[in-house]
Every structure is written in C-alpha cells, then in structure tokens.
Assembly symmetry: C2
Homo-oligomer: 372 residues x 2
C-alpha cells in the first residue's frame, strides 16, 4: 500500500522529525508495533459505489492491514472509474447479478456492503453464502428480524459479520470510555445525544421507505441510539419516543423527520436524545456523572471530533475514522482481535431492536420495555 | 439607597473612567435615564427570612427603585438580625399571625413571598386582602388550581401579582431573545434545558411534599419548563414525561428525583428537558434554529451566565439578577412598565399548568395535550 497518501503522510511526519511509526502507534488500540506490519492484508470488495463507498475506499488507501481489491456495482461506468482509481483488475469486478461468484475469487476476503439499508439483508446473506466475511454499513438492516437472519446466515457460513460502527475505534471516544471506566466522572447518570442534519434532495433513497426502512432515525438517529449505549456502558431497559413532522410532503409516511427518544438504564442512568432531518449540523453528545462530565461536539461527524471533560480538552490526534475502522476490522477478521467496543452482528442487532422499540413507542405513545 | 455596595460600584466604575450612568444604562431594559432616578421607591417587605430571602435583600441594597422596608417571619431572632442589617424599625416587623396588619402600614407597598411553595397561596391571598402588591417566588404555588386562586384574589383586591422569574430580566438571556426575534437563528426548532443539582440535607422542606408540592421539578425543573417557553417564544401544546427514582428513601412518594420531559410547540419546534436532584450542577440551555444556535452554561444560576451563539460569545455585563429583577418589578408596579418577558400571575400559572401536565404524563405514561 505505497499509495500517494501514505507517502505524503510519511514525508510530512518526517519533516517535523516525528518517527512515522510512533505517530502511527498513536492509533487508539495500537495495531502496529514498532515494526511495520508485513502480514496478510484483508482483501475487501466494496459493494455499492456511492459517495460513502468512495469515502471508505479513499480512507483505505492509508490502511496497513486492509485494501480495496474488488468492486460490486450495478453501474458499469462507476466500476470503470473505480478500476482506474484503485487499480482493480477486471476479474475482481462484479454486478448485482453475478457477485455470488466471489466465492471462487481468492482476491476477496470480505465484502463491505454500502448500499441502501433495505438491501443489506439479502446482500449480506449472499456474501455469507459465498464464504466471504461481511462488513455491513449501519444500520445493519431495517429491523431486528432481518438483522437476526443476517447473523444466522453468517454463523451458518462460518464467516464474520461486522457492522460499520466507526466511532467504536475513534480515539477521543475511547479516551472518554477509559475515563468513565476509571471512575473519572463518578457514577454515570445522564446521556444526551443530539444527532441531525438538514437533508437535501427529496428524491434520494434515504427518503424512500422501501429502500431506507425509515427516515432520520435509521440514518443519523442511530448514532444517538448506539452512542447512548457505549457512552453509558449499559443497554437500555426502556424507551419512550415522540415524533414531530413539520414537512409531510418531504417526509412521507414511514419516513421520520424528527424523533425525541428517551432511555432508562439498569443502573438508574437516563438518556434524552434527538434524531432529526430538519436541523442543520446537530452533532452533540453529553455524558454527565456524579463527579464529572464529558461533552463532544462534533461527536460523530467525519471531521475531527472535539471533546472536553471536567479534566479539560482531549487532544488525541485525529485519524480518518474509516482508515482506523478498516485496519481494526482487518485485525478482528485476520487475527481474532477484540474490538474496544463490539462491532459484531449482535451489536448491530441491539440497535435494531431499540429502533424497532422507538418506532413502536412512537406509534403506541407508550413506554416500551427492552430486553437486549 | 447610598449603600456601601452602591458606593463601591460607583468608585469602581469611575476608576476605569466609565461614566457611572452609562454603565448603569447597560441594564437590559434601561430603567435609568441619564439622570439618576429620584422618584418614589417600591417599599418591600420580605416574607420568609431564609437563605434566598437574604440573597434578595442583599441584592436590593443596590437597587435604585426598590428597598427592603419590612419583614414578616415566625422567628423573632431572624427578625432582630434583619432589623440590624437593613435598618428596619419595629413597626415594620410582623409575624405569621399578625401580618394582615400591613394593611395600615404606608411603609410597605409590596410583599415578596419567599417561603415553602405550599404556603404561597394563602400568604399571597392575605397580602392581597391587605391591599399590598404580591411578589411571589417561583413556583407561584404547588398547582394550577392554587395559582388561579391567587390571580383571582389579586385581581379582586386590585393589586399586582408578580412571580420571581429573575431570568426574564437577565441581560444575556434577553440578548438571545432579541437575536431570535431578529431571525439570527432562523426558524427555531429545538430547545434543550438540563436543570439539576445534587440536593443535600434529606430533612429540608424541599423534600417534604406537604411543603414543597413536589421534588426537583418544582424547584429546579421549573427553570427548564419556563426556559422552554421564553427561549422558543411559544407555549407548548403537548408534553410527555418519564420519571426515574434511584433513591426512594431520600426521595419519597410525591418527591420527584429525576424527570425527563418533552414538549411540542405549535410552530413545530420541540424541547427535551431534564429536571433532577441527583446530578450536580446541571445548568445548560441549548436553542437550535435553522440557521444558528444559542447555548448557555450556566444558564440560570445566580453567578454570571455564560452564553454563546453562532455569532460568538455574549459579553453583556453581569448584574446581580435579583437587583435587576427588583428594580424592574418596581418599575412595573410603580410606573406600569411592561416586562421584557412577562412575570405576572398568568405567566406563573402557565408553568403550573405545565407542571401539573408533566406529573399527569408521568402517572399515565401518556402524552398530555396542553391549552395554555
């Protein structure tokens, strides 16, 4: 992986007299040792060549343990572009009809599914049946039932199933969890996750229930759902939720615009969250304990996370999230490494169970008990 | 009112070459003109000589239009202390049995009721019947029914009824409302008020339902209730709420420890709030609009408020809240001035109606529609 980006990174680092390997060792869970990694790379095909797929592939240019080796797409022109950009041979290119043939391709260890949510389940099951590991963008699927089927299929095929929770490897996030575990905040009592943005084009798949399975909740609210769990360090035991829709033309039946939701946790902590497609750049986490607090803003965006606690500003360096994620996922798949916060199918399924419960709470107006 | 504090303020201002009157004109709604105020003072008796009563009296030492002229208390030793401190003659001192006699005392224009919540109603009605204006600490009473009786009694007696909403005169708060009205945040869509502290002594009246009428909600949660309304600029049309109790020994039946509550507003905005006696120093407001935001932290504490918006940090100077409040209330009573945000009985009643609805929502687990 002597990509231009890697090369530039090394030059830059050297220019400031910082040993490259030391800098790389600052990654949250330190994949690399003093010696550069020279073991096998995780060979990844990207399924779905949209803008996020492109972001992942770009980020993987800087990976040490994972590389893009194949593509699966329904759009021949996109395949051509990617082949040129990432040096992918014809034999590693597939479309939605023939990608079961990856089964016989030793250039592909895993497939990263980055397609509309409703397609994840069938695609994951096909990848599993082809004997390849599944990495699936969040939400893992559009409901818990589908999520369970994916888990079952991967278990049966004896392949790994990982969900694209990039924040589970983010340095400042992990530092806050370390501090929480060390008791720096005292008993944790409250979490607030405000996640939203103002969505544009009304014709995009994210606003089409058949493809997305829901609106803001599936897309951006899930960060607050998942964040509640890793920030508190427990799974919620109840949920209440309230939906508000100000633009029923843009946000049709089944596409949530704004949902407020609340959790209760076994230890007595509570969470108050907001998921919205109607407010710009809402990206705030706040964790409050008996003795201290942590706040993050932005908390889950792609750019550098900003975080401070009662002890001051966190200074962990920013590394492109998807680079770290893919290196760590490679270590999980190739070396059986344990993720700092789980990213497996069971983890994805928990969020889906909670989202199912949020939708039920909205519909019934009642508190929904959870057993995760 | 040539108190030592006033004197020191003037000296300090002069030392920096700032004309005193200009500095004083920076008060949010500018009571003072270029010429020092020399009209009549509002003569105020304090009913209830506890720590907050003392804070108000202290702050009033710097008032230009209001002064402490009398006291009402059940504790003779407290009365003695106050007489000495504030130079109050014997004829202006009353106890809970005889204070109806203020009727005949020209040294008292108004009574500021600063007693446990459940006592407000009867005391306010007695003050009104004595023909004196009523200033009542928040919450105005323990439920909407009692609040309405207070309003009726004051109307009948033709006296003013004001509620101690000191934030309604606070400079940074008002600057944010000005910016909101000027469209600096665009359409306002979300408010979050997190209000709480860790309450100490389990034997205090605030944890005795018969005196307090409720727990954290009546005491500190009301700031988020009231703040939701003045920050959004509308009254909510529905409320949902969830209670969590981790310490049922300290927080007995009817004394809420932690309540999360949510509002919907006619314009489509929503609010997510927290009221708690279990978390230390939780004092945060966040207002989010289509184009901008305002955040305050601390947002309602006594010390200087800190506030920033998408346009930067607010720099309005801090003036002791209760000083401004009492000068402004004097202007309302003596000059018929309009408050920047209402502080009358109807305003207090709205919060009580909402708190009644929050308790009902907790009890029923259902959304409660509001018509304020």
């Amino acid at each position: 992986m002597n990509s231009r980006r890697n090369f530039l990174q090394k030059i830059t680092a050297s220019a400031f007299g910082i040993p490259v390997l030391t800098a790389m060792n600052e990654r949250p869970s330190g994949i690399l040792n003093e010696v550069p990694y020279e073991g096998p790379m995780l060979k990844v095909a990207i399924l779905g060549l949209g803008s996020y797929g492109n972001r992942v592939a770009e980020a993987m240019q800087s990976c040490s343990m994972a590389k893009v080796t194949g593509v699966i797409s329904g759009t021949p022109s996109k395949i051509k572009d990617w082949q040129a950009k990432y040096n992918i041979p014809d034999k590693n290119c597939y479309n939605y009809e023939n990608f079961d043939n990856i089964k016989n391709n030793p250039d592909i260890d895993a497939v990263y599914i980055i397609t509309p949510n409703a397609l994840h389940k069938d695609q994951a099951i096909r990848v599993a049946k082809a004997g390849k590991h599944v990495i699936c963008e969040k939400p893992m699927s559009i409901n818990a039932k589908d999520g369970q089927e994916m888990i079952d299929a991967c278990k049966k095929a004896n392949v790994k199933l990982l969900v694209g929770y990039r924040m589970h490897f983010e340095a400042k996030t992990l530092e806050i969890l370390r501090m929480r575990n060390a008791g720096d905040f005292g008993k944790v009592l409250f979490f607030q996750g405000l996640c939203g943005f103002r969505i544009g084009d009304p014709n995009q798949w994210r606003l089409n229930k058949a493809l997305s399975g829901g609106g803001a909740m599936m897309d951006i609210g899930i960060y607050a759902v998942n964040g509640s769990r890793y920030m508190i360090g427990e799974d919620p035991i109840w949920v209440t939720a309230q939906e508000t829709k100000t633009d029923p033309v843009k946000f049709k039946e089944g596409i949530d615009e704004t949902i407020q939701f609340q959790f209760g946790f076994p230890g007595g902590a509570v969470a108050s969250c907001l998921s919205t497609y109607q407010m710009s750049n809402l990206d705030r986490f706040f964790l409050n304990g008996e003795k201290g607090f942590a706040e993050m803003q932005p908390s889950t965006g792609y750019g550098p996370i900003k975080a401070r606690t009662n002890k001051g500003e966190l200074t962990n360096p920013h590394i492109t999230h998807q680079t770290t994620q893919m290196d760590e996922m490679a270590a999980i798949i190739l070396q059986g490494k344990k993720a700092p916060v789980p990213v497996d199918g069971e983890e994805g399924l928990k969020d889906l169970k909670i989202i199912d419960a949020i939708f039920l709470a909205v519909k019934t107006g009642k508190k929904v008990e959870l057993k995760l």
